[in-house]
């Protein structure tokens, strides 16, 4: 009898038992945190396989977060760019970005694990706001660590978090941005582990976070694939998303990774291009591409967008780059500010600076995608960025 052909492992499937995606990932954390990561992994496996938990999560996504999010066709922008641009509207979620998907998943899980307190890091403040929101909704305490620099450029979100009942603590070390907020959150978790869940905001960190966070965002890709087929009768030619830690990209990519004809593109800020300019390294619990010097000191990212101001990237993206399933390209701050205005003027949508990166790449590379259907993840709305862009454009806007 012939052996049944074994089906190839799915491209964005489960990581190995030691938390690896190819050669990337793992669990490089202080010994104190190892049992907590193991407990979390077991709890997630159990919950994700439990229809009751899935139903509870799905219910919150629909009745609280406003899912499914819309798919919008960009008529004017498409004409201008010479391609068919479709947006996945994560900006229309409650709290204004994709971050709410992961946050609701983890907060439910924390509750199921009997935790009473959430800690989170935040860059742009979107993850912090979403975490504070979920904490308020589920009756949990919430402390958010945020780089001092980011607290200034995203001051509106700092106030939002406070309104929602969270405490915001400044991270004063290093570059005082997202990387340092993660350090501070990890130190806090080490110190207060019994009743606290660390609600990490992207597909990064030690196993099981990269996998778990991607699963909580998978809904973006699953919805978009079906919506796109309904709207266009086909799959898109290209799927584009911005990449900081990589959660919105992982979410939308996961819906298309098994369709070889769909090109997957992640867009990084030139000043924080972990895949483009990094070499493999270990920080924040994971082995992944990392911007670092020749001695292994982590470099400080530099981006106009606080949410992408991160020298590392989630390990699954490093793996997708390695196997050639996804490509990663940089755009610079000027291109991003252009794209931010372009979308506002042409479509009446003010995008978050983060996802303006995706549009900046599409706009720059439009000639190579002439006539193609391009699905872009509009990961968040730009209200939080308006003051910052105003100060950048001061005088330039006529």
């Amino acid at each position: 009898m012939a052996l049944a052909p074994s089906s190839p492992a799915p491209v964005m499937g489960n990581p190995s038992d030691d938390g690896r995606f190819g050669r990337f990932g793992g669990r490089f954390v202080p010994e104190t945190l190892v049992p907590a990561c193991q407990e979390l992994e077991a709890a997630f496996r159990d919950a994700w396989g439990d229809p009751t938990f899935r139903a509870e999560f799905d219910h919150l996504l629909r009745t609280y977060a406003n899912r499914p999010s819309l798919l919008s066709e960009c008529t004017r922008l498409s004409e201008q760019l010479g391609l068919r641009l479709i947006l996945k509207r994560e900006d229309l979620n409650h709290t204004g970005s994709h971050k709410i998907n992961n946050v609701l998943g983890q907060a439910l899980l924390a509750k199921r694990m009997g935790k009473t307190k959430l800690i989170a890091e935040t860059g742009a403040g979107q993850h912090g706001v979403a975490s504070a929101t979920a904490a308020a909704l589920l009756g949990l305490e919430c402390v958010v660590y945020m780089g001092e620099v980011d607290m200034v450029r995203q001051s509106l979100n700092v106030f939002r978090m406070k309104l929602l009942g969270a405490e915001v603590r400044p991270a004063m070390s290093g570059s005082r941005t997202l990387k340092d907020a993660v350090n501070e959150a990890m130190r806090a978790w080490v110190s207060d582990i019994a009743d606290t869940h660390y609600l990490l905001g992207s597909v990064m960190g030690p196993h099981p976070y990269p996998w778990m966070v991607r699963e909580f965002h998978r809904v973006i890709g699953d919805e978009a694939r079906e919506q796109c087929r309904e709207l266009t009768g086909a799959d898109p030619d290209v799927v584009v998303a911005c990449v900081g830690g990589g959660s919105n990209a992982a979410g939308i990519f996961s819906g298309f990774a098994e369709l070889p004809s769909v090109r997957l593109v992640g867009v990084e800020p030139a000043g924080g291009a972990a895949v483009g300019r990094g070499v493999p390294g270990v920080v924040h619990g994971m082995l992944s591409y990392l911007m670092q010097d020749e001695f292994g000191q982590v470099q400080e990212a530099e981006s106009v967008s606080a949410g992408l101001d991160y020298p590392g990237v989630g390990p699954e993206h490093s793996h997708l780059a390695d196997i050639g399933r996804a490509e990663y390209h940089p755009v610079n701050d000027d291109e991003v500010i252009e794209a931010f205005q372009l979308m506002a003027r042409t479509e009446g949508i003010i995008p978050a600076l983060e996802c303006a990166h995706a549009l900046a790449w599409i706009s720059r590379e439009r000639a190579s995608m002439k006539g193609q259907t391009v699905l872009m993840n509009l990961s968040g709305r730009g209200d939080k960025d308006v003051a910052q862009v105003q100060s950048i454009l001061d005088g330039r806007l006529t």
Binding site: R27, P30, A36, S191, V282, V283, E294, G296
Partner: protein, 259 residues
């Protein structure tokens, strides 16, 4: 190179409690003098920090020391180069403490070799737990460098023997739930942690993280084989104490644990 574990076991067999003070490598122009002064003050081993940009197991004091050191242009190679021959000269084993990316970037074999060539006896990598330690530990074993593993209060009972089994030199008992830094009193978890470890291993058990003065050191040594003291000593130095003054503080700890 001094064999770290043999050295510590010998000292313990003499009825001596083990004292391991810490110096941030490259902190200032006199940091190697401080290493020598700690030897004179009765250190049984000396831990030397190689600064890393993102020290997640460190509190404000060691963070500040790391930043200061990095700003002086310190690299892993300058720290190791300045330590070359020092251990043989002072007769005290040296242990570097740094984060895994420093080792990963250099390459496991190359880094282990570099330590061995400078007569550095051991390494502590606090973000490299048991499950991930394999490739480094193999290279370190080969070079004769002891990989000291940490054991924390969160570990379930079944985990501790496995950590002790893979650790070399001694077992580093984390005294509390937290990162390095000075504390008002010895954590309630400290002695219990040492007891749990002493029950499952014959290797020296040395308590660290948060041990801040001679009194706390003596209390910890009621069960443990010794203590590591880092932040409390580095705080003195950062606040302007001379090498002699920091060494004098170390000597007080020595005297306290000698009883």
């Amino acid at each position: 190179m001094i064999d770290l574990e043999a050295h510590l076991r010998r000292r313990r067999a003499e009825g001596r409690k083990l004292f391991v003070p810490y110096v941030s490598g490259g902190l200032d122009g006199e940091w190697v003098d401080l290493v020598r002064a700690f030897a004179d003050a009765g250190a049984d081993a000396i831990e030397v920090g190689i600064p890393f940009s993102d020290p997640v197991m460190d509190g404000p004091t060691i963070q500040e020391a790391s930043v200061r050191s990095l700003e002086r242009g310190t690299t892993p190679h300058t720290v190791v180069a300045e330590l070359r021959g020092v251990s043989d000269e002072i007769g005290v084993p040296l242990i570097v403490m740094t984060y895994y990316n420093i080792v990963f970037r250099a390459g496991h074999r190359r880094f282990a070799q570099e330590l061995a060539e400078a007569s550095i006896s051991g390494a502590i990598l606090p973000d490299l737990p048991l499950e991930e330690v394999g490739p480094w530990a193999e290279a370190a074993d080969e070079a004769g460098v002891a990989t000291v593993l940490l054991a924390a209060p969160t570990a379930p009972d079944e985990r501790l023997p496995r950590i002790c089994e893979r650790s070399r030199g001694f077992v580093y008992a984390v005294s509390l739930l937290g990162v390095t830094g000075e504390r008002q009193s010895l954590a309630t978890t400290a002695v219990g942690m040492a007891e749990r470890l002493k029950a499952v291993t014959d290797r020296p058990v040395i308590i660290g993280i948060g041990i801040s003065n001679a009194e706390q050191a003596r209390e910890a040594c009621s069960v443990a084989d010794g203590i590591v003291m880092a932040s409390a000593l580095m705080r003195l130095r950062l606040d302007g104490a001379s090498v002699q003054e920091v060494a004098a503080a170390a000597r007080k700890v020595r005297e306290a644990i000698d009883g």
